[in-house]
């Protein structure tokens, strides 16, 4: 054994024999890029996204379908029409043989690409074509309503949270009332009142049959639901030190809002997007089912289910198909929503 001096040479060797410590850290990345990568790795979420986009694409191709595949105008009643199936010409509506033999039963699904894949409804219209057009409306309404909800809620939430004081108190009381009002009842009240006569204040005039009415109503009704958590988030952000520091440095309020608060709130808002799309689709379909959503001649998945009610036992596919479409979209959006939340904000509570 050698002398026990501090032997730098040996010490250095001994040190060198020790393996390198922890491998170098990956360069920290833009949180958006990190989140996007995480999302891409989430198989279920990716599949859901693709499914949803496929549905959107199909619905957008509604006019093509109507022209090339189904042939008939999905909005014109076709009570006396005829269709060629298997080479045979049959009337679209036939005298009913079920039950008491009263009324007319439309033809059922042919299950073949071409006219009347899913059969006809009680006005002789091609269900599959209407399904695609209806989907267009349902998706459009859900989409625009989501934009309205998120924009409104972000505005209210940020204003209430960052200004505090009286402004916050007043807004919160208002939100409390709106929040306590059951969403469907609020939507129903507004729809009843506005649908029949339209809306006419000053420069804003919306006729009663317009799609804008359900869009605006559904958009507004969910604002408190989203505004509350955003307000809460803004409040907690305001209490954090980096904001206090910015205020202390004399940074003007608008800049603090723009640079510090909004980007942080943005993640919460993005997490809400798939969820709100799903909720809005459900609300729209319920309102349309109750005949106070989309009005004829427009169609949406909800109205088609309503159309299918009378035919439920004889031609169930008229009602089944749109419901399945809604369920599929909402399911895909829910799974996607879970994935987005896990990628961006894993600590947030479910719901």
């Amino acid at each position: 054994m050698r002398a026990f001096e501090v032997d730098e040479r040996l010490g250095a060797e001994a040190g060198a024999k020790a393996p390198a410590s922890v491998p170098p850290r990956e360069a920290s990345q833009n949180p958006w890029a990190v989140a996007a990568r995480k999302l891409r790795r989430d198989g279920a979420a990716m599949v859901s996204l693709i499914v949803f986009l496929v549905v959107v694409a199909l619905c957008l191709s509604a006019p093509l379908y109507a022209t090339y595949v189904s042939g008939t105008d999905p909005f014109a009643t076709n009570l006396n029409g005829e269709a060629v199936i298997n080479g045979q010409t049959t009337p679209v509506l036939e005298a009913s043989t079920e039950g008491l033999g009263l009324g007319m039963t439309p033809i059922g699904p042919t299950w073949r690409i071409g006219p009347y894949v899913l059969g006809a409804d009680n006005q002789g219209r091609d269900v599959a074509a209407r399904l695609l057009y209806g989907g267009r409306n349902s998706l459009l309404i859900a989409g625009v309503a989501t934009i309205i909800t998120l924009a409104g809620a972000t505005l209210l939430g940020v204003v209430a949270g960052s200004f505090g004081g009286l402004v916050d108190a007043a807004l919160s009381r208002l939100l409390d009332i709106l929040w306590a009002f059951p969403i469907y009842l609020l939507a129903i009240s507004l729809s009843i009142v506005l649908i029949s006569k339209g809306f006419d204040i000053g420069p804003i005039s919306i006729t009663s049959g317009s799609l804008a009415l359900p869009i605006v109503i559904i958009g507004i009704v969910y604002v408190p639901y989203v505004a509350r958590p955003i307000r809460g988030h803004v409040l907690s952000l305001m209490a954090q030190e980096f904001v206090t520091a910015a205020i202390g440095l004399g940074v003007p309020s608008w800049r603090i809002l723009w640079v510090d608060i909004l980007p942080n709130v943005a993640t919460r808002v993005i997490v809400f997007i798939p969820l709100m799309l799903a909720l809005n689709m459900m609300t729209e379909s319920a309102l349309s089912f109750l005949s106070i959503g989309v009005q004829s001649p427009d169609a949406s998945w909800g109205t088609i289910i309503q159309d299918g009610q009378g035919l439920l036992y004889s031609r169930p596919w008229v009602a089944l198909a749109p419901g399945m479409a809604i369920a599929l979209c909402v399911l895909a959006l829910n799974i996607l929503g879970d994935g987005v939340r896990d990628a961006l904000d894993p600590k947030s509570k479910l719901r």
Binding site: S189, A286, F289, L290, S291, I292, I305, Y313, G323
Partner: protein, 324 residues
Amino acid sequence: MLVGLVSRFGQMVFVLVGISMLVFLIFFATPGADPAARIAGRNASQETLAAVRHDYGLDQPLPIQYGMMMKRLFVTGDLMSFVNRGQRVTPMVAAAIPVTLSLVLGAAVLWVLGGLVVGVLAAMTRGRWLDRSLMILSLIGVSMPVFWLGEVANLVTQSRFHDTMLFSWVPALGYKPITEDPAAWFKTLVVPWITLATLYVGLYGRVLRAALIEVLQEDFIRTARAKGLSETRVLLRHGLRSSLVAFVTMFGLDFGALVGGGSLLTEVVFGLQGVGKLTYDAMQNLDLPTIMATVIYASFFIVIASFLVDVLYAVLDPRVRHAR
């Protein structure tokens, strides 16, 4: 704690007043059409319109109109539906309440039990096939529109499979009061109960699973295990009991949405003459007084119910009790 309750009560009253004002404004003050014409319904004669204007004080300032309306709704109970030729609204609503309550409470029992079972099972077998399947089924349950599910249920139980042993007992759509025939009452409600509960079992199962998994990471769970308690006991008495608060919060919130919307749709689809169906029929006829009354009564009920849930909160979680 009393201080907290009183303040919460005050808040509730504030919200109730706010809602009544909001509803009033929506029905009476949205621009577009003459409120008298709205209330009197379509094809109302001039005399009817004049009578409406007088009765509702439509030529008077808004606050007075509001006061008169509230008086009619809550004090004298003589709000009349013009469409239904003088039928009083309040008794109609009163008659419809037992139906809605039967539907909603029965479904609530089902979904609370179902949610508990699903949540606990999923948390216990976390990551394994039972957990995954339960979560997928829950998601599917949450994604189906309740009225559509009801239609499907009808299709199956009333039409396609009605003759099989499985569903031959399902009676025709409609409601039978429990006082008349308890067995029939039960049979008319079973399918609606299950339909309505499906949505919520999924929702609650997912939330409970997440809450339980979080709680199970806590230190006191490790202590409970170190005490030599059985795993079931640890899970239920220590884990579940500590996460019940989240469950109850949700319940309070959802009860509102349910009574407001879900039960309405279910009643329509299954032909149950509850408050929701009443509202729907009134909607078809544009019978505004009835709609307004049902909306206000329903909203009030919901707000009061969530206040009661808050009280239940304090009972369940001693930390909340003492924080007040």
